[in-house]
Symmetry: C2
Subunit: 345 residues, 2 copies
Amino acid sequence: MKKKQRVSIKDISTELGISITTISFIINKKAKNRISDEVIKKVEDYIKKVGYKPNTSAQTLRTGKTKTIVFMAEDISDPFFSAVAKEMEEIAYKNGYKMIYCSTENDKERASELISLFQDRQVDAFIITPPENFQQEIQELIAQKNEVVMLFDRRYTTTDHSYVILNNFNGAKTAAEKLIASGCLNVAYVGLASDFSCMSERLEGYKDAIKNHQSQPISLLLPFKDVKSKAGRTQFKNLLDQHKNIDGILFATNGLAINGLKGLKELNKKIPDELAVITFDDRDLFELHSPSISVLSQPVPALATELIKGTLQLLKGKNGPNETFQKILPGKLITRDSCNLGVYD
Amino acid sequence: MKKKQRVSIKDISTELGISITTISFIINKKAKNRISDEVIKKVEDYIKKVGYKPNTSAQTLRTGKTKTIVFMAEDISDPFFSAVAKEMEEIAYKNGYKMIYCSTENDKERASELISLFQDRQVDAFIITPPENFQQEIQELIAQKNEVVMLFDRRYTTTDHSYVILNNFNGAKTAAEKLIASGCLNVAYVGLASDFSCMSERLEGYKDAIKNHQSQPISLLLPFKDVKSKAGRTQFKNLLDQHKNIDGILFATNGLAINGLKGLKELNKKIPDELAVITFDDRDLFELHSPSISVLSQPVPALATELIKGTLQLLKGKNGPNETFQKILPGKLITRDSCNLGVYD
DNA sequence: AAAGATATGTAAAACGTTTTACTAAAATTT
DNA sequence: AAATTTTAGTAAAACGTTTTACATATCTTT
């Protein structure tokens, strides 16, 4: 019923007999040394009283800024990304920014379309987990300098840009070393066939950990499309078949681990007696699994905080348009029953 | 480097020597019987050529419409809600709408703040899973008629409004009947102490299923804050302790089930031999669990499609501002190992 | 051929801000 | 007391649309 009429600066102006300019200055904290304290107080009180809120579209139209940050995740319904999204949203709002989420599905075309769409909508910043083979597009996006660009989860070593990522090398190394320490003699690595930095870094971390412990690395790199597929599971089982001596597995993502665990269940493999397991990315599934699965967990709150704080800092742009923000955060090994081999020695 | 300059209607106007008005009419498909086909084609071709996209803020400023839909979920990082969100986003974009997500955390204050915030931002529609004790606020929101309001997952039977929900009664009944059919003699219900319609409907469905099979219903209703807590788990264990004869459990939400399964693990209860289990809401965790857990799964794609289609329909507003959109969709029982008691008879 | 109808188009106001360039009065300096 | 600076404030343009009200030319009817 009561369609309440929004009050505009003009309304305040006529009501108080003060010019629009003056009021705008006061609202935007540009009134110091320009407007008397008396008038400032009068206006501020009135604004509070009537609950005035500036019209966002008018502000955007005038300034070209939308106060909007886009988070383009690989898949926003993935618990890892959605948890990060949720944390960021909180901080963004407190700083007067709204966030929009979307998913690339690791699809180049889709990602390009989304970027173009959001550029039309004049967003101020992109936080992106780029799909594969996307370096060129990211470079162009950065070069245009229309928006702040922050990469997440993946970075390019041959381009200078802002990013927040996990210390993937150390994480993988720690996890693989844990498997070795638990008594594994032949640790295999199951990862993604991908140009993502995080994937090569994890593989390198694994290799570094095992180099003095087993004759050669054993790895399976699946294409993205097979992470959750039966075909992927078959390839995984084949690996175990070809290398009967494998007694430990490091999964590079939670998706790979879930599919892998399904495969192990189908093969009736006993964890950890026959095979110890550690995976990247914690999920409550892993805690509840029988046996519970050890994980290299990503520090979600810290990642989210750094991401959004870094982005906001770049948006303020105090250090010029070429400033970058780069953070590499350590993961944390959570030991559960899936790698307790040593216990049974 | 190449900051490409956005082209405006005015640019097109001066370039083509055609008035702004005419061009606007053509863009908005209001040119029929007003402008010659020749001019229409000329303008449309030019627009395509230069890739003109209207400035959203200017449109909003002029029309008061933002082409934005807010999805206020209980927790957007919950797999169920984020899956629904993702599906809706897709369709919304295709229809020229963008979506914003946020989480109420089942907190009244927070929900009110969010609504107020988004009203300031002039969003066009709210899709809401209301927190508890929020009926009054929802009623007021609807009465203001400034935005389209669509409820999800919960509804109020004493207010006329739009909603899309699961057929909770039938779902709970089907699940409980399955437990009975599997040989359970004493089925307990673990739910939420809540004024949510879905919760009372599920409880009723359970009661209806068991009324001719066991002397009396056994139920535990936990407060929202204890769903994931240790305290909740303790209460659950106490229930089992007080009713030694319980041989089947129906969990009303996946959160309750996860915590409950942890409790059962701590008690070393054998599923399904000692205790059969079914829960609402499928998650890959349940498939992977040992034994795999039977679920009453919600039809996520259908729910999402109905939600967004309904909202878009109301936004078009062909049938006046008092039109409502109400859909109740059936769930699907997915039978897995956790209720295969009968097999062992 | 005059009157009316139709086809084709445009001028200008409005949406609500921000910001540049200005004015007028008061205070300070010379 | 004149010149200068400071203080306190404002007018008006601009951002890019949509839409109302109007204008002109052409066609149709009488």
